[in-house]
């Protein structure tokens, strides 16, 4: 990880206040766990890991190669534990952690060798054919590639929803984004994914993401 990124966290942490959608109970539980973790309670940090690991995994999966994601999840939490002292608004832990994950994924992308162009047109018939042959892994990879070829604003919520199993309201609460934008991006992303999985006349073009 570059030193520029490290410096960036100082400023990032100062800028994450004021995001909406945290429910008071969850917020206070996060705040309690962050406070305890700062006091050296590793079980509390473990609880934070349990609460946020799926979110971090999903964000990384949206941006980094699958093979690197599990290691990057661990890197994100190790970095977060080391930098917990710089988190000024404990209620923004999720948004702060999401920012760390996005930065680490971007950093990893810059450092690693370029990948092949993602497959974007994945006919439904091909997926079903592979699935019927028992080649579930291959068809799952094709669908994941299709999601990863969508604009940034769509791929993250779609992966959190379809891979990690979080609901829309959970995605908004965990990441600190507004439910409105998560819902719009889930919907638009799903529309584009459906069009990609069964291309044909009338397929929608690129719509604007709600960022």
């Amino acid at each position: 990880m570059g030193s520029g990124l490290e410096e960036g966290f100082e400023m990032l942490t100062a800028g994450l206040g004021g995001r909406p959608v945290r429910e008071p109970l969850e917020l206070s539980e996060d705040a309690r766990l962050v406070g305890a973790a700062r006091d050296g309670d590793r079980a509390a940090f473990g609880r934070l890991y349990d609460r946020y690991a799926r979110m971090v995994h999903g964000i990384l999966l949206a941006k980094a190669p699958i093979a690197a994601v599990d290691d990057l999840v661990q890197d994100v939490f190790v970095l977060a534990l080391r930098r917990l002292s710089t988190l000024r608004e404990v209620g923004s832990f999720g948004a702060w952690l999401a920012a760390i994950a996005r930065n680490l994924a971007r950093d990893h992308y810059r450092r690693s060798a370029p990948e092949e162009q993602l497959t974007v047109d994945v006919p439904q018939e091909e997926i079903e054919l592979r699935a019927s042959r028992g080649d579930q892994d291959a068809s799952a990879n094709l669908v994941l590639d299709a999601i990863k070829s969508l604009p940034d604003a769509y791929r993250e919520p779609l992966i959190l929803r379809l891979v990690e199993g979080l609901t829309g309201p959970e995605i908004a609460r965990r990441t600190g984004l507004t439910p409105g934008s998560v819902r719009v991006n889930l919907h638009r992303g799903m529309q584009q994914l459906r069009a990609m999985l069964s291309p044909g006349p009338g397929s929608p073009g690129q719509e604007g993401a709600e960022s």
Binding site: V78, R82, D137
Partner: protein, 370 residues
Amino acid sequence: MNAGNDEPKKEVHAMGNDYLWDRSGEPDPEIQRLEALLGRFQLNRPRPAFTEIAPARGWWFIPRRMQWLIALAAVAAVAAVCVLTVLVYERKPGRDTSAGWDVSAMEGTPRLGWRAVSEKGGKSRLGVGQTLETGPQARARLRDDEIGQIEVDPGTRLRLLNMGSGSKRIALDRGTIHTFIWAPPGQFVVDTPSAMAVDLGCAYTLHVDDTGAGLVRTSLGWVGFKLRGRESFIPAGAACLTRPNIGPGTPYFEDASSEFRSALMRFDFEDTAPEQRVADLGTVLAQSRPRDALTLWHLLSRVDGPQRAQVYTSLVKFVPLPSSVSETGILRLDQPMLDQWWNALGFDDIAVWRYWERSWSSAAPQANAK
């Protein structure tokens, strides 16, 4: 992300797909199938042993009782400062709380319009249409919790053009700013007299001299530099010059040789004889290293005929063409193919730029606007 305008709200209300949103309503078989198919990618590793990792020490290593005393003292100090502030500001006109950046003096006395911002005077506000000038001795800091932070060096003049929900623009007329932006890529734009700098998730320094020429140096993420049809992408570690009426030059890594950089600068901006241009391009190609693929990719669309073929031959040695890209496509400057080759260079995904470029197209560059 935000749901600030009316269109997305209408769209949300129009959505009947509650299963996608929160699994309520009638299950959608296709979504269920995708959930079952993609579930295999979930995190499959036990929780790490955090007990072996030491956190950075903050001030909470102080015993709790002591922390309370310090906190009480801090509260008392803050209360005293508040009382003093109220007393001082009761005698001054009210502060502008409309959209804008918080401004604080880091050194000397910057001026916000006709008003001085002193180091002891707390924060002021740079509103839309207002100008900040630092003069020869002063430095200032601009900050907005949703956008980022800008440090302004001495001798700088900048204006706030826009603080809309999807676009935050300032104009840098002259001087130097150091930015660290956390707004989504594409939202923060700096107009200079010779190009528009678009933040693509990064930290960078931007300098504009008295002739309107500019220089951007990126330290984190990447920046897009654009004037009319001419555009440059500057990743971390790279720099790019701009000149009035020409626009952005060809970006280069700052550790390139001085011969490489001099030849590139002449090639980009000087009106030299054709033989000199050939010689300069030859120097750039001969001194290129694999990481200078950045420069070569940009040169492809800035040269013609045999020179483009020369650049192609050098670049393809460093970065092979992706399977879906052809030499003829590159030589005729097919945009999707150029974009795919860019993505193969290992910098950030150019789709981010193309996506946001569409959203700026409605707002013309403000270059040269005063």
